[in-house]
Amino acid sequence: MTDRAWIEAALTGARPQAMGALLRYFRDLDRAEEAFQEACLRALKHWPLKGPPRDPAAWLIFVGRNAALDSVRRDSRNTELPPEDRISDLEDTEADIVERLDNGHYRDDILRLMFVCCHPDLPATQQVALALRIVSGLTVPEIASAFLVGEKAMEQRITRAKRRIAEANVPFAAPDADERAERLGAVAAMLYLVFNEGYSASSGDSVVRASLCDEAIRLMRLLLRLFPAEPEIMGLLALMILQHARSAARTDAEGNAVLLEDQDRGLWNRRLIGEGLELVDKALRHRRSGPYQIQAAIAALHARAARPEDTDWQEIDLLYQMLERLQPSPVITLNRSVAVAKTRGAEAALDMIAPLSERLAGYFYYHGVRGAFLREIGRDEDAREAFDRAIALARTPAEAAHIRMHLDKLAAKNPLS
């Protein structure tokens, strides 16, 4: 790798820890960001000459903090200080800092940095944008292209979100156990939003979006390194990894969505599946089940099936029942109905989703799934009606194209109608 490439990887890797410590120190996101930027500029200048520091995060925290303090002093006294002197001999100070960091609160620093992005007043897309800016260090143009909005609009969104956070006054004292658990839950949910933003591909540049999935997984791995014995964190990482493993098979050459049962399983990433299955096993050993673990276990059953007909639908049905008990939701029942259709037939599945018709009237997938069940039992006219409704609710051309394919199949079956 070139100097530039390894330095950039080191800066990205160190960013959450360094930004987290600088945020604790300055209690202000903008000042922490400026300090970090300044430290990065100096790293790009010094590291190629002096070699990488032993602990890049500690170096960045130390240099960033001093640079920011200098600028504060400079502003107040209007006299130039020689900032280079302060970092001329870092080797001695580094050891001291490393010790303090290791004993200190770097775990809570990173958690806090992620947690400030999850303010409940912020809509999901803003939480995601903010996390990508602050935790991942993506540039505003990069984030804007992921969301398919103008740079100016994104800049404004992020500025507004930051103001909200400043007003929210997140406490800077080390959190107690309850608070920490609460923060961890909020941060996990936020990282899942980042992942889904990349996974659902409802709009925006597809390459940029795929990299959002990678980024969410990278940050989840970091979170799990900090909290290695949290089964739900393992579960969510496993879920992301297992879903991401299928990404190459999820769209065809024309960019149309390919359903799970039609996917070329040879395109699934076996390396990621191996890691995901390992994590599910590890999480389940704790016998403290939760929604992410159950969803990961469902994804694992799909990943284990070499062919669609090998899928253990019975077990998937049971897992969805567990999920329904934990998080009653019509969407989960709808998902379970797919498993029920496989084990007990489409008729039983239709009976199961009939009570959902009102609550899911405006839900694209409800009509799509219902149409498929109806077609399966030969009620073609009703199926066509359901597909027509689905197509009216489609949010993307890919969704519409998928339903159109079902309608075409129906038309081919009944050429006279």
Partner: protein, 140 residues
């Protein structure tokens, strides 16, 4: 015991090269960067393969998937995560047959060229080849 381990092809000593790096950094490599690192390493490995002196090369799944078993009193504790909370994690290893430490050091230096990975060289005392072909691992 100073006995040297005899090997089929070589006459030297067997060494394990343990690769340590900050996992946060390695997981920040782009796919292209990671591919470039692997390609460079494979070129260097190939020289050893050609000489019949290259043993297994192993890359480990990130430490989030690690489990540690530790004895506490009379109990066997099964814990999540790697054994030590350190800045650098064991991410993979190579096994080679070399005539001298100097030769291993040279090999390691060329393997890690351009990387900030730390390599620890450990002479091996016991090496049982086992029966795996290397295809068994799902994570390969």
């Amino acid at each position: 015991m100073l006995a040297r381990l005899a090997t089929e092809k070589g006459t030297g000593m067997l060494y394990a090269l343990l690769c340590y790096h900050d996992e946060g950094v390695v997981t920040s490599w782009s796919k292209a960067e990671d591919d470039a690192v692997l390609a460079k390493r494979r070129r260097v490995q190939q020289e050893m393969v050609d000489k019949g002196r290259m043993g297994p090369a192993i890359r480990l799944v990130p430490t989030a998937s690690a489990t540690t078993i530790r004895t506490s009193g009379s109990e066997q504790l099964v814990l999540d995560g790697p054994f030590a909370e350190t800045k650098e994690q064991l991410l993979g290893l190579y096994i080679v047959d070399c005539d001298s430490l100097e030769e291993v050091v040279d090999f390691a230096k060329r393997l890690k060229e351009g990387e900030s990975t730390t390599f620890e060289i450990r002479p091996m005392r016991i090496f049982e080849k086992g029966v795996l072909s290397g295809k068994e691992t799902l994570a390969s």
